[in-house]
Amino acid sequence: MRWLDIFVMAFQAIVRNKLRSFLTTLGIIIGVGSVVAMVHLGQSATRSVTDEIASIGSNLLFVMPGTAQRGPGGVRTSAEPFDLEDVEAIAQEVPEVLVAPAITVNPTVVIGNANETIPVVGTDNNYFVVRNHGIAYGRAFDPDELNAGSAVCIIGTTLIDEMYLGQEPLGTTLRVGRTACRVIAVLEEKGQSMGQDRDKTILMPVKAVQRRLLGSLDVQTIFVSALIDGSTGRVQKDIESLLRQRRHITSPEDDDFYVRDTQDIANALASTTNTMTILLGAIAAVSLLVGGIGIMNIMLVSVTERTREIGIRLAIGARTRDVLTQFLVESIALSTLGGIIGLLLGIGGTWLVTSRLDMPFLLAPGVMLLGFFFSVAIGVIFGFFPARKAARLNPIDALRHE
């Protein structure tokens, strides 16, 4: 028997029963489609997370008071806050770094008739570099303003859209809490990041926030940017030993502060999305298995239904292997067809979702190939049993079958 004839025969059998063939392959279509979509979406999610981390600032370290691990009951043990001297010390003592303090408060901001609660960050000019968030137009804080804690502010673009309603903000005065504050610059647009609108923010000199809004000299967070790529590990150690010295801590276990590398956070998030991808992929794989069982079921029904046909074929000289190949090729053709359709749907679905959610659309040839070969394998595995059943039929029993 020629292979071409075998394929033609299988194709004819599939076409003869269009609806049934479609329903049979539906399981494989859904299975392969969901596996491909899940893995691709997972990949896109991981990529968009790492991209966002990079946009926060590369080689960035967060230094915060308190302990990284939460205490019993989830209560974070209290610790002495930092002050500007700590910031200064890190800038002086740790080589090749740029340091920016950050104090975040959430006062009510009033612009004209509009008022809204907006995060206000007290910082200095290093912030623009360290947090990778530059000025679009206007000017940075001048040294006098920083020293005096003048009431000047730099605003994010969301405020222009929502509160200035598109009017020119430079030189205008807005009210932050009870302080009237002059707008000197507008930040670059950054968009959404980790579910937060990074453009909905106001920057003020650190001393202005301390005196006018917070009423204390505390610094909540110190951002440190390592100026040399890949040196965050060294910088982290330097900061830790410096702060231990300043806070009179002898053992690392007693640290009442912690230093976080954004790379670690990125890795942690990436590994979380990876786990999710694997989990969802595994669930999708189960549906693929169910699809395979569906194929087996239909092939078994088909063998029973076509017993007489098999008898005719055996009578006119088909060998065991001829019948076996015929049914096996039929099931492989069905599952492969389903696999290809599923692949296309999966990729199409991924494209749709990523374009809606503004995520990068990445194709993974490995996953596509795997999905394809998996569907072929399902045809082989779940087609074999029914095919063998057909091939082993006794010619005379098969012929007499009604």
Binding site: M1, Q12, R308, E309, G311, L314, I316, G317, T320
Partner: protein, 250 residues
Amino acid sequence: MSNSARFGNHDPDARDLPPAVIRMRNIFKIYGSGSAEVRALDGVDLTIREGEFVAIMGPSGSGKSTCMNMIGCLDVPSAGEYLFRGVNVGGLDRDELALLRRHFMGFIFQSFNLLPRVTALANVELPLIYDGVRRSERKARAREALRIVGLSGREPATPNQLSGGQQQRVAIARALVTEPPVLLADEPTGNLDTGMADSIMVQLAQIRAERGITIVMVTHEPDIARYADRVLYFVDGKLVKDGTPDEVLS
């Protein structure tokens, strides 16, 4: 080993008579066991020689169909020896039997047994597909076989578009397309009216006259059996009469 060597002709009795194609010795087919035992064939001895047209007759349950299935290698005997062209069929495995059927036997059934929803041409092509014949040659041979049975122009018709007589002609074309030396017909006219039955029988007689092939036919109608030149009459699994139609049917 080539098939012709394998299924070659080594008949010790062949002197003046044509060589034996089918030779059965003491064939039994037993279903069930103990008190439920049924002897479908109960010690059958028979010889059919090349070129003969043999009708197998008998009341229903006499074992005539079982005998036919044995001859066609569709069923295996419980005991006894069956030589097809001198080869002991009992020593062949499933696939060797399939090859034997493919190359040496053509089958015609009472219920036609065409593949449904497949064209007449494709039905006739089927044995050639299993033989690995190229598409173009296959189509040509299938067309020729359909022409011989008078169905030129009906190639694209599916069985449900054909009359019973036409379907049986397609089945004859399918049986003959591999040019087998033996044609086995199980009640070929059983589902046809008298006029149609006669024309099918004329067709078979004509094919036999032209090709000199051996035909073995099961029938329960004496009129049909008269087309044969020898009648085997079975009762209760035993061959009880063997002679010309006139001798046996009188």
